[in-house]
Symmetry: C2
Subunit: 220 residues, 2 copies
């Protein structure tokens, strides 16, 4: 049954544009998947129940919207194949500098994270993050990076609250080594947070809204 779900998502994504919305009948999906209309209908019900899609049934044709969970399926399969086939390509992202408001600083300065950064990344990060809004043309690449494994940093508890796990990806900007960090449980956002042992704003002479290119190395 899992295979049907995967295949259905592939087809729905192919038919939906970048807006992830598609008008398709169960018979239409059945034709593409070379299965019966009844089975296609069951699959759609299943996808809906399991929150892979949303659906609205206007008059005749149903409208299907792919949810994040569907995209995750595809991007993680892509990454799986990437790593199995040892195609560690480097990804190039481009975006511009945003004002970070300082929450990043609050989080990464926590001892529970800092210790692990030093151990696992081999750097003692400058206590602050550089926030970069990735240009929308690079959304697909960013999604692909996000769904890769990366370097895992465990969550922890302090006296007051729990802090979730994050994952890091080695990267460089103009030759300066840095790391992208993503909260492990969060949905897609086009803003990435970057840490480095250097103060990147000084090192790279960056101001808000400056354009920059970012190279991510996924080695698995």
């Amino acid at each position: 049954m899992d295979y049907n779900i995967y295949n259905a998502i592939k087809i729905l994504k192919k038919k939906s544009g970048s807006k992830n919305v598609v008008f398709i009948s169960s018979a239409g999906l059945a034709r593409e998947m070379k299965i019966s209309q009844q089975t296609a209908s069951r699959i759609i019900i299943n996808l809906y129940k399991n929150k892979f899609i949303d659906r609205t049934m206007n008059n005749r044709k149903q409208k299907i919207t792919l949810l994040e969970k569907s995209l995750d399926v595809l991007y993680s399969e892509l990454n799986d194949l990437y790593s199995i086939l040892e195609m560690h390509q480097n990804f190039e992202l481009s975006g511009n500098v945003r004002n970070g408001l300082g929450e990043g600083k609050y989080y990464i300065s926590k001892e529970g994270y800092m210790k692990q950064f030093e151990e696992k990344l081999g750097i003692k990060p400058y206590p602050g993050t550089l926030n970069v809004k990735i240009n929308s043309e690079y959304e697909n690449i960013l999604r692909s990076v996000r769904s890769a494994d990366g370097i895992h940093i465990n969550g922890f508890k302090d006296d007051e609250r729990t802090f979730g796990g994050v994952k890091c990806f080695k990267a460089h900007i103009d030759g300066i080594k840095c790391f992208l960090i993503f909260p492990e449980r969060s949905s897609y956002t086009d803003i990435v947070e970057i840490i480095s042992d250097k103060y990147l704003r000084d090192e790279l002479k960056l101001n808000d809204n400056d354009e920059l290119k970012l190279n991510v190395d996924i080695d698995n």
Copy 2:
């Protein structure tokens, strides 16, 4: 059953090194796939019958060798996802110039091919091919390119024999536009043949064994 085959190939490829050989018991495969030993055994038999793998049964442990057909499955799934997710990256290959012996010239000069090259590629090719041996580090990328769709050129018959279909990929070398051509029915080789409307050896001042970089554009 198809899904099992796909999954088994993924696991076998992951466990096998770049030599595509792996020692694994049916119980071992079963554990990885979270299925019973019996089912794993059946899958292995199936893979063998359908020429996805070769197997030899020495004393205790069986040795499984992944055949081209298995790699094709993985690389074409990768390409599928690539095109569905609209991640048309450009691939960079590097290799060195080889002496082509002139068979390439014989083939591409055939009217049946030439007409289609002009129609579908928009160039009137110089009647000869540049043969490039791709460096082995780029094997994975070359395989990935090969399993993509490309521009299809139909096969045809002349008075004497039949000529098979080929597929072409737009590429450029030092800014000069060219096309990689692959026979549609042939197994992997690390030599690629390149056509262009220019005589590339002159245009790029190439001699045998000269190193060159090749950029392939897969747009789907």
